[in-house]
Symmetry: C2
Subunit: 203 residues, 2 copies
């Protein structure tokens, strides 16, 4: 069960032991916060020895970095795969928001670590993640700018608009739970409509 969940969350991470440690880290950070979690806690949660953990990750910070970078890479990929397409900007924006919101809802526990523990990253690792974040924000801003140019969107400040759009998606990770009775996909669709309106798409 845990094995298949971790493979689903991080399909591009190998070997499986590394994924299991990442999942155990996410669960431990969620339960008691990053700072209060020890590598011993994480190894125990993964059913491994501390020594086995160090084979894959030299430190707790390295685990946080792996989770954070991978999460940002996944969201960058989903934005990238749509942002440069041929569809009208409003259709691209709708798709980006649907996917971005669904990702943060579906993976809300992982996403909380990805989005809320940035300050715990060491400086160099933080720089890598900050670059991924900039790329995501730039892509979203470019789609909005293109929409404005083509008369599809009307916004006051491009930077504020891009930030608000992403902010709305990120915050889903904070409040989403399976109990709200709405699937990640359904929520993504509703948010797609809300965001298009926010950008003055006049729907």
């Amino acid at each position: 069960m845990t094995v298949s969940l971790s493979a689903e969350l991080w399909p591009d991470v190998q070997p499986d032991a590394a994924r299991r440690l990442m999942l155990a880290a996410v669960e431990s950070f969620a339960a008691r916060g990053y700072h209060a979690t020890t590598t011993r806690d994480i190894a125990a949660a993964a059913g491994m020895s501390p020594a086995a953990l160090y084979v894959h990750f030299p430190s707790k910070a390295a685990l946080l970095f792996a989770i954070s970078r991978n999460g940002h890479e996944q969201t960058l990929t989903l934005v990238e795969s749509v942002a440069g397409g041929d569809e009208p900007p409003r259709e691209r924006m709708r798709k980006i928001i649907e996917d971005f919101v669904a990702w943060h809802a579906r993976r809300h526990t992982v996403a909380r670590v990805v989005q809320y523990e940035l300050q715990a990253l060491p400086e160099q690792e933080y720089a890598v993640v900050a670059d991924l974040r900039r790329r995501i924000e730039n892509l979203v801003r470019e789609v909005i700018a293109e929409g404005v140019e083509k008369g599809e969107f009307t916004v006051g400040d491009l930077r504020t608009a891009a930030r608000a759009v992403l902010s709305l998606g990120v915050d889903v990770a904070r409040w989403y739970s399976d109990r709200i009775g709405k699937t990640p996909k359904a929520l993504g669709r509703e948010y797609g409509e809300l965001v298009l309106r926010m950008l003055g798409a006049g729907i």
Copy 2:
């Protein structure tokens, strides 16, 4: 300096030593997370002895509760003071968002504790805060509903709309910093416009 800051953050908390402890707690939680912070850390940060801390707060959880409840009461007050007014719903909504966003920007360090450490609250204390949250969300939903009734707003799902509006404001606490070169008030105004559009107010 610290004394005046804590008085500004919690004008209705007495005596000053309690406010100083709340401020020291916010700073300690921000630096290393709630779980990794000890009452000893907080007392030291406030320049007090652990015994002096216990005079005002019986536990770390009591401090978290004081910060969380007070923050929720402050935001409830600002929503309440506008929600039931005589102005058209769109003007009330604009004012609510301007104030709510400015509050989360101006007090972003306190607001992060208020918004992101709910799970660490003991059950009874959580219930008190959850009730305040429900009241805030209900007021916002009622203003939206009134706007829909009067033909000022058009929304798909009332609950999703209210949640998205508040979510946008809450997330400001996560990313806002003084370095973005935009005052809390200016950001509030921009967000007021974005939210009215999101609600289909056709501005």
